[in-house]
Symmetry: C2
Subunit: 420 residues, 2 copies
């Protein structure tokens, strides 16, 4: 079955917001085996919206539009859909009641303009909103299915997950589709593709696909079968093979973020972690603390951006700063040990280097030293990171999180001098 | 003139990457006064690419495609464009020479597949690549202009800025377009729109537009005139009026990020800054240090995620932790003062609170306390932030950066108990 996504909103065409809904929806549709062959974006204009629906109906089996279902004059998706289908509206009193109830609970009167949201194109049905006030719309024509959902991401996702994806799975037949995602870091996409080349080309159920971004590579296995259990059984041996081939580079087989995997491993091991950061400027701590529950095992990070603060806060020696400089392996080691001591943690991470864009202290941009320190490990490594300032910081924080991940899993730590 | 953007790449349709190019291009086209009425996305398929070009030519004056110009078998934008125009290819030896030169400088042989990049649809011209190896393509048909540029964002931007935007400005006539962006924080979009309502509705040259995101509001003024000087003169009085009305909430009139404005103000004042962070987990430091040159005035941040580390690292008193708790105004004040002392900075910022999603220590999610400490200021404020964990952290870091910005500009600090 072919699906098509229509983003509706002048703010997308003006470049004021990114069409992130389209990415999320495409990803979820791919997961259930729907082929998305086209995406469109049009503004808040009834005729252009109607044209977009007509075009989509001419080439796709399922059309999902997002945006333009609010109560203002700008919100004309409802009208564009009705015009494309050549139908009028039916007012649904139960939607009106629902909306009045939502406003009453907020202690506010419902503006009359919201009544429009109780109108559904004739012959269609609606999806009840949980969070927002805009109902979703569902119409069928010539065996094709059209959906319209709000543009607010949380409201869109609620209707996709609660109604549309289950309906489409059912439409697609009795089969089940199961996906598993293996994520790895410290290894390039070209090496992953070499290692998995035969699986990528030969395995059709499950299919094997990969994608590189920000210093990591995702491998997604997707299997179809009569039941989810059977699909899962089809995936199991291929998943095992992929994990065996990628080995120590794999940080999760459950689509976790690297920082989520690390927080999980810390909780499992009962160990606490602290950091001393320079070139990453707090990014390591920021990523770890973005994970709910991180406070159980993450004690903190000393972001020491000046040489003097490395000495005063983390206890880096004057000798190291004078001889090797703040961007050096010894400094990274002393920062890791210093952070561990300062916060009283079981494990310390230290990161220093040159984020760029300019060289610093004779070291070229992209030079990164990271170190890990614990009772049973005192390890450091250097690498030259590709990319601009943001990318260098991202690669550095990835490498540090992964160093801690490998340590907690009892895996070999990358060589001190390995170049990514 | 109407413009249309075509994103080409199966990875966009699979939701593996976001179509960020479309947003960037739309934004820049809006800036020079081009109306983007449609965006399309298609995969790496010759016929569907050709159809997308034909559709775009039927309704737009300028078509810009991005992606699919690489040297692999998947890269078929060149073929789709030629098919849409019904023409063959002309090989340009000077492109071949350029490509061989690029490979030679990298010390590598050029794969024969790269030769395809020397093919230009007959009658068209090309844009010389600076960074990458893929030339851009330019074709004209029936007075309409088609461009194809690489999908790698840096390569796309290079061709847009170096060739396409200047050409389109020239196409649009002799006039000049100048934009200025005023950014403010600590004020909601609805209040900005109320304050600027008459300008938004009445001013046509410059036009006034606004957009809210992540706790800030951007106001963009765009003027057209025969020369840039004249356009700038048209903007000046309206810019002055906007700034006067928004007052202390404005942090830049030059489209800087809040952290860029802060780093600039620190440099101008010669003052140094340090932070003590809890709920933001390093985000304040991460944002400041993302600005090149931040190391001149930003000394560091102590991310103290446990109560004990607030005491041991930042010197928060046991009494405060026991009586008011780590999420409290007094704790924020002691963190600001402690960070200032620890790093020997002129100005200290302290942030604590509950990022959520769960309540903590009897305080509800979204509770944020921030404080600033310097010789001449000891100020704290509380607010309840809307949103999920990420949003609470973003609002908190915005509010702290803005507190420092206001202090350095000598503006009034928000009331301690003001609710955003």
């Amino acid at each position: 079955m072919r699906a098509e996504i229509i983003g509706i909103g002048t703010e997308i065409l003006l470049g004021q917001i990114s069409n992130t809904n389209a990415q999320w929806m495409s990803d979820r549709l791919a997961e259930i085996g729907m082929d998305v062959l086209h995406q469109q974006v049009v503004g808040d204009n009834v005729e252009r919206i109607a044209e977009a629906f007509r075009l989509a109906l001419s080439r796709s089996d399922v059309v999902i539009a997002t945006g333009g279902l609010g109560p203002t004059q700008d919100d004309v998706t409802r009208d564009g859909l009705a015009r494309a289908l050549g139908v009028g509206f039916e007012r649904h009193p139960e939607i009106e009641e629902l909306l009045r109830g939502k406003f009453a609970r907020l202690g506010r009167d419902m503006p009359e303009s919201n009544l429009l949201q109780a109108d559904v194109p004739a012959g269609g049905r609606y999806i009840t909103p949980e969070r927002g006030t805009a109902p979703g719309l569902v119409c069928e024509v010539d065996g094709k299915r059209l959906y319209a959902v709000p543009g607010v991401p949380a409201e869109m996702r609620e209707m996709m997950e609660g109604t549309i994806l289950p309906e489409l799975r059912a439409l697609a037949g009795e089969g089940a589709i199961v996906s598993r995602v293996v994520r790895c870091t410290g290894i390039g996409e070209s090496r992953v593709s070499t290692l998995l080349d035969d699986l990528f080309h030969m395995s059709t159920n499950p299919t094997v696909a990969y994608l590189a971004s920000s210093g990591e590579v995702k491998v997604r296995l997707t299997a179809k079968a009569a039941t989810s259990d059977e699909a899962a059984r089809r995936i199991a041996p291929v998943l095992e093979e992929v994990v065996a081939r990628l080995g120590d580079f794999v940080f999760t087989t459950n689509d976790e973020l690297l920082e989520e995997a690390l927080v999980r491993l810390l909780a499992e091991s009962g160990k606490t972690l602290a950091c001393g950061e320079s070139l990453t400027g707090g990014e390591v701590a920021e990523r770890i603390t973005a994970v709910p529950g991180a406070s159980e095992s993450f004690l903190g990070s000393a972001v020491t951006y000046s040489p003097e603060s490395k000495r005063a806060v983390l206890g880096v020696s004057t000798e190291t700063l004078d001889s090797e400089g703040p961007a050096s392996e010894t400094c990274a080691r002393e920062m890791a040990a210093g952070a561990r001591k300062l916060f009283g943690a079981d494990v310390g991470l230290g990161l220093t280097g040159v984020a760029g864009p300019e060289p610093h202290g004779g070291k070229e941009p992209g030079s990164v030293w990271i170190a890990i320190d614990a009772d049973d490990v005192h390890h450091a490594r250097f690498f030259l990171s590709p990319g601009d300032r943001d990318q260098v910081r991202r690669w550095a924080s990835n490498a540090a999180l992964d160093l801690a991940r490998r340590y907690l899993e009892g895996r070999p730590l990358p060589d001190a001098d390995r170049i990514i």
